[in-house]
């Protein structure tokens, strides 16, 4: 159920990113797609991948915002300071509330956090038959994370091939006709 809501949100945000006229708004819409994907990974119980997705998404957003911020930014500062201050305080309060709830759930300092790892170490060979435990973890217990990483590499290769391709024959002919 949560997954379907997240998927619908991601499709909607991607459409917004394509359709919106302002470049910075488009970048932020793309970022919301990435963060929703991070939440979807959490729902699908792939926490390592969710962390990676979060960090990479933040880095990409920083680079993209840094690249677009000087292009067209209709920044309005004067005349709205009441709204700005109130919304900032509201978001700080919401953030503190949720972080309080989240921090309460963490295991206490010094208590064992290796529960999952212990299970892998004990049952690795009998459950998968692989002697190399790393292979057992990344290709059996956590294969979903590996699928995500493979997708990341696939997308990177597609992007590089698309950006660095030769100019097509049609384009060269057009240039020759024009020149």
């Amino acid at each position: 159920m949560e997954l379907h809501i997240l998927l619908l949100f991601m499709i909607f945000a991607a459409l917004v990113a394509i359709e919106v006229k302002d470049l910075l708004s488009s970048v932020i819409a793309v970022g919301s797609v990435g963060f929703a994907l991070c939440l979807a990974f959490l729902v699908l119980k792939a926490p390592d991948l969710a962390i990676t997705q979060l960090v990479v998404e933040i880095l990409c957003l920083i680079i993209l915002i840094r690249a677009t911020i000087s292009k067209d930014l209709p920044l309005v500062i004067e005349g709205r300071w009441v709204f700005n201050t109130v919304s900032t305080l509201l978001f700080v309060a919401v953030f503190l509330f949720f972080s309080y709830l989240a921090l309460k759930e963490l295991p206490g300092f010094g208590s064992p956090i290796m529960n999952v790892v212990k299970k892998y170490l004990e049952e690795g060979i009998t459950k998968t038959g692989a002697v190399n435990l790393v292979a057992a973890v990344i290709l059996d217990f956590r294969a979903y994370d590996t699928l995500g990483e493979a997708t990341v590499l696939f997308t990177a290769v597609i992007g590089i091939m698309a950006v660095l391709r030769r100019p097509g024959r049609k384009k060269i002919e057009e240039k020759e006709n024009a020149g």
Partner: protein
């Protein structure tokens, strides 16, 4: 491997490359196939396989390397690796869930053991190796077109 003295590096480099490039490729394949028995696995082995072709390209120039693995073949093989990995994931549905290891586990410490893990290693090595080589190829071809202009 035709020896064209105009492209690539010197004769010494070419001779050594001719001797070593097969061994590097074999070592990559070994690392991939023994991924479930010894450290390494699909990603590391795939990078070694890609490096053997990069080695070939550095020593003999881009034309010979492209004649071995063209750009279209590289993208096709990369997509094939991705689809293979996804297919292995979907095979798990025969046993009930995504990525379930349904094949025979076999005895530990044997080459044919651990169910789907060696197959996943092969798929990932295909993806990673050809993908990284395709990136290198794209960069080299871009540089070539810039020089022509």
């Amino acid at each position: 491997m035709q020896d064209n003295p105009k492209t690539g590096m010197s004769l010494i480099v070419k001779t050594i490359t001719r001797l070593t490039v097969g061994l590097i490729l074999l070592f990559g394949i070994y690392i991939v196939l023994h991924g479930h028995l010894s450290p390494g696995g699909g990603f590391a082995g795939g990078v070694i396989i890609a490096l053997s072709f990069v080695h070939l390209m550095l020593a003999f120039g881009k034309d010979i390397a492209v004649s071995k693995v063209s750009k279209n073949l590289a993208s096709n093989l990369e997509s094939l690796g991705a689809l293979m990995f996804l297919g292995i994931a979907l095979i798990g549905f025969l046993g009930g869930s995504f990525f379930l290891n349904i094949l025979n586990k076999g005895k530990p410490f044997q080459l044919f053991s651990a169910g789907t893990i060696p197959l996943s290693n092969i798929a990932i090595s295909l993806k990673v190796g050809v993908g990284l080589f395709a990136i290198f190829l794209a960069l080299v071809i871009l540089e070539g077109t810039k020089k022509e202009k």
